[in-house]
Amino acid sequence: MIMFGCNSSSSDDTTKEAEQPQAAYTFVSLLGGDATAIDASDSGHGFSTPMPNLTSEELDKHLTGDTHFETAFTTAPNNEHPDLDGLGPVFNNQDCNSCHQRDGRPSTITLAAGESRVLLGSNAGIFLRMSIDDGECLAPSVENNYCKNVGVDGFGTQLFHRGVLKARDDWQENPFIGQANVYLSYEYSTVTYADGDTVTLKKPVFSIEKPYDVDVENSLNSAILQANVRYSPRNGMPIFGLGLLELISEADILALADENDSNNDGITGRPNWVFDPVKAKNNDPIPVSLGRFGWKASTPSVRVQSLEALRGDMGITNPLFPEESVLNTPLHDSYLARTGFVDTGTDEQGNTEATQQFSDEVVFYAETLAVPARRNINDESVIAGAQLFTQVNCTGCHQPDFITSTGKFFVGGLAAPEVLKGQHIYPFTDMLLHDLGEGLADNRRDFTANGQEWKTRPLWGIGLTKTVNPAAGFLHDGRAGDVEEAILWHGGEAEQSKNAYMALAEADRQSLIDFVMSL
């Protein structure tokens, strides 16, 4: 009897396995390992939870960083809140949360009926990067300034479309305007499936008016409206799980690179090698690191990403970036003269607007936000979709998993928190650059990344995007209203996978979407 029973059981197992080979990630729930959030993964707090394995002191530091993240900065001088002044004078937003609502994505700006365009204001979580087109740069060195982008004369590498009241010479006619006004409109197109289903896609288009460097009548002479200037819209990104991504070893990422497509699958995967201000500050002879963060993997660490945004997006200087972005431009010089040289970026003692402590706390916060747990794991459609995700080769770029480094590990020049180490994580990104085709191209180089390349976005938490912010969009400029639209924009190296997705029957397409939404 016993032997018979065992044989029967064994036979059933064998049959089941033969019938349904399953991707290894199919039933994984804890996408962040021990750094996964529970009890917050079905609601709008899904991206805002501290890692559950933090120590008591680490949790205190995290929560202090959270307060900083939500701090709104103000115009200098603010005698009542001197620790909060120094905003701008030109900027994109006044606080971190406006581009990363509830630690997620910003709201996509929509147009009212009858409106053809809208001015980017305090509602916007998107801005424009810009630079002079100077061709490819593939090997960073001291001779080529480490492949840094060349800023536009008098402006820099980011267009600051908002300002404090007196930011411009013409502030009485143009209060609160930054370097220029940016307007958003949309172009629409339609994609049709073989079965007749259609999807409308929209692409944001930006126009620029009132640049500060010319009179209104001579707008076209502005430095930012010349033919060799390249623009790239950038939406805010979710900021959970970043510390875990920092601890994926460089070797594991580079092992996935296939720059010459040796395996002939049509997918290359290339690292971005970027200037590292932390290394430069530490007098490292080669201040270049693997890029990990940003839409084109243009920053090497959470520290650089966060503090560059603090200085760049808000105009708050900090020890890593002690000078205003617009230092030595005519706009800044005239602003200082007009306002009595109050907001130079440093105080009389040479202290930056944000202290070292503030900087460290806000960076730590971004490194230690937990990854939301998966949902609906046992749903039949989700299980089927998990297999399709491999079948159509989404995993060619959206690499399911890594194990984070152990032992001594430094990020942004500091020792990594222990809670991040040795975790089996499922970010669904290979952390590499891929050519995604002309449809998504911004035609702007970013260090060694070219104008058609984007870093593979992590997919963990993507299913909670709308729960966290119902108005959020996907892709670098928020153009995709949902996951399906985002898939349909994939081109270039992902063209094959997109076509394979489109060739699926409707029910299977839905299953694949259901899987992605379970993440």
Binding site: D39, D42, A72, T110
Partner: protein, 381 residues
């Protein structure tokens, strides 16, 4: 040959026995204590959505209309009486806003309405420069200004003054231009409270008439925002935790400091009107509204307390008591001399009462985080 066969047979037999043994062992595992519970959440969610959240935003919008009218009366007839009425209208509209902070998710964040209405700190530098440089203000123009010269605290500053010595501005201290700015700001404010209400009951994207009312996303789940009622209940519980944490650890503890030598009056929210304690009380009353399922004084309706009661009746009662204790502790801060919070943090006796309030809020937060929130895992839907 016989020996070899016997050895192989013995090995197979051992494997089989091992496997069977394991299975048998599993069967003998003692039964786990049952902690799962059932609760039909539809009535609770419907009630909280319609009669607490949407009703709260209706109150906010109505209060904004009353406040706008009061400011217009002040512009047209600048008297101390009309100033006092406008000040009171500001305090009145503050109530539904602060109570609404217990459910600060959805359109209030997605449409950036929170920063439009309640950005803190105020940007006095630019505000004073505006008043010194322009001859008039309109709502359309103000709407293009930065959030830190709009909203509650801008209007508070214009109505009450800087709050350092007193919170009683007289009409002689208010310029015509200030009252015009105030009324323009109140008009902008009203457009945002209307947008917020409409997002909940008409269309969550004001620019897309086909987008669903946000309330319908809570009432009928299995959508992109809430896959199931679990998400809605989790949202509501985490919303309460969020404001309890913010009041105890932020709004009260930050100005309070580690001791009397480390207070920071600049961090006192609503410091111009001296309305801070009313704000904090209303924040926790907002928690009570969601927990009980109705506004104070109304007939009993389904709330989170009913969900908790289905899991653990003692816990449900304990949390309700802790909410009342927290409200009482905040109200007690003022003491017999009715100290405003801005002054209380600098008074040794009041500080004892403030610490008691912080402790009560901490106890409440712990109960929600460790006891209430974790019940979601045991809820059998």
């Amino acid at each position: 040959m016989i020996f070899k066969k016997s050895l192989l047979a013995a090995a197979i037999s051992a494997l089989v026995l091992t496997a069977c043994g394991g299975s048998s062992s599993d069967a003998e595992t003692p039964t786990v204590v049952e902690t799962n519970f059932s609760f039909e959440a539809t009535e609770m969610i419907t009630n909280l959505t319609n009669d607490v959240i949407v009703a709260g935003y209706q109150n906010l919008n109505d209060g904004a209309a009353d406040f706008l009218l009061a400011t217009q009366n002040l512009v047209n007839t600048p008297t101390d009486k009309n100033l006092a009425l406008a000040q009171q209208a500001w305090k009145d509209v503050r109530v539904p806003w602060e109570q609404g902070e217990s459910h600060i998710f959805g359109p209030v964040d997605a449409l950036s309405i929170d920063p439009h209405l309640d950005t803190w700190p105020l940007n006095t530098s630019d505000l004073e420069a505006l008043l010194a440089s322009q001859a008039s203000f309109s709502a359309d123009e103000l709407k293009t200004f930065n959030d830190d010269v709009q909203g509650f605290h801008t209007m508070e500053f214009l109505l009450f003054g800087d709050g350092v010595e007193d919170n009683e501005k007289s009409i002689d201290e208010m310029t015509t231009l200030e009252s015009e700015y105030l009324s323009a700001a109140a008009e902008v404010f009203k457009t945002y409270t209307q947008s917020l209400l409409d997002a909940w009951i008409v269309a969550n994207d004001p620019n897309d008439a086909n987008s669903p009312a946000y309330k319908d996303l809570l009432l009928t789940t299995n959508n992109d925002i809430y896959a199931s009622q679990l998400g809605v209940v989790e949202e509501l519980i985490n919303g309460m935790i969020g404001i309890i944490d913010e009041v105890g650890n932020g709004k009260i503890a930050e100005p309070f400091g580690s001791n009397i030598d480390n207070i920071d009056t600049s961090k006192v929210e609503s410091q111009y009107s001296w309305n801070s304690l009313a704000d904090f009380t209303d924040n926790i009353r907002g928690v009570q509204n969601v927990y009980r399922g109705e506004f104070s004084g109304q007939a009993d309706k389904a709330g989170i307390i009913d969900f908790v009661n289905a899991a653990d009746a003692d816990l449900a009662t304990r949390v309700d008591t802790e909410i009342m204790d927290a409200i009482a502790a905040i109200e007690a801060i003022a003491g017999e001399s009715d100290l405003p919070f801005r002054q209380a943090i600098n008074d040794a006796d009041a500080r004892v009462r403030i610490q008691a309030a912080i402790d009560a809020l901490s106890t409440l937060q712990t109960s929600f985080e460790n006891d209430v929130l974790t019940k979601l895992q045991d809820w059998q839907q």
